[in-house]
């Protein structure tokens, strides 16, 4: 990334384009979730968009892997996408949400291993 790209943010535009082409390969309900997630995260991004990129990348990877597994998007994100997004960026309430993820992880495993 050169200075010009950094100043104009064109490196970020390129990355967003990358993200979008990955998102287009997702099933439709996943694509809709991706749009909602972006809409929720964007208000956070006015001056700090660059630091949002790895977070968006993490979500997209999560969507890709779970879609490939044939899970429903509801199962992956839960009902509260807004809360999910706040947790992603570590905003208020993130701690209790991370506890939820932790619980979800152990419950999913218990259920799937049938124990």
């Amino acid at each position: 990334m050169n200075l010009w790209e950094r100043m104009t943010g064109s490196d970020m535009t390129r990355q967003m384009r990358d993200f979008e082409s990955r998102a287009q390969k997702l099933p439709t309900d996943y694509q809709a979730a991706w749009e909602t997630i972006k809409a929720n995260l964007w208000p956070h991004s006015d001056f700090t968009g660059r630091n949002l990129m790895p977070i968006l990348d993490g979500v997209l990877s999560l969507l890709e892997e779970t879609a490939a597994d044939g899970q429903s998007v509801q199962e992956v994100l839960g009902g509260d996408i807004k809360g999910f997004c706040s947790a992603l960026v570590g905003a208020e309430g993130a701690k209790s949400y991370r506890d939820k993820w932790r619980e979800q992880l152990n419950q999913n495993i218990a259920r799937k291993l049938g124990k």
């Binding site: 990355q15 990358d18 990955r22 956070h44 001056f47 700090t48 660059r50 630091n51 949002l52 990129m53 790895p54 977070i55 990348d57 993490g58 979500v59 997209l60 990877s61 999560l62 892997e65 779970t66 597994d69 992956v76 947790a87 992603l88 960026v89 570590g90 905003a91 993130a94 991370r98 993820w101 932790r102 619980e103 979800q104 992880l105 152990n106 999913n108 495993i109 799937k112 291993l113 124990k115």
Partner: protein, 116 residues
Amino acid sequence: MSIRDLIEGKKKWRAHMARVKALPRDYQLVYKEIQKYLFKVGPVELTEGTGLLDGIVELFEEGAAMGKGVLEVTGSDVAAFCDDLIKDSRTYADVYQESVNREVANAMNKVAKKTK
């Protein structure tokens, strides 16, 4: 600079997932849940190429080869295992919050200077 590119490049990512698929079913299930959890929590280490995910696969391959059950390897509290694993790593949420705080502080400084 996506997780997949940064971790290992696309080819390596595919090789990584192929190793996962070669694990016994129970190990695969647990691995995938762990991976999902880590994508959500977003430890910076995930993109630093330190082989966080490869390391887990290696641990699992060895455990499976010894005929152990997956929960015997991780313990029944898999989340605790994950958190232990990334205990020293900052998350992207941390990085993000730091940048927000910095920007807010800068903005406040500007206002403070103007009002002087």
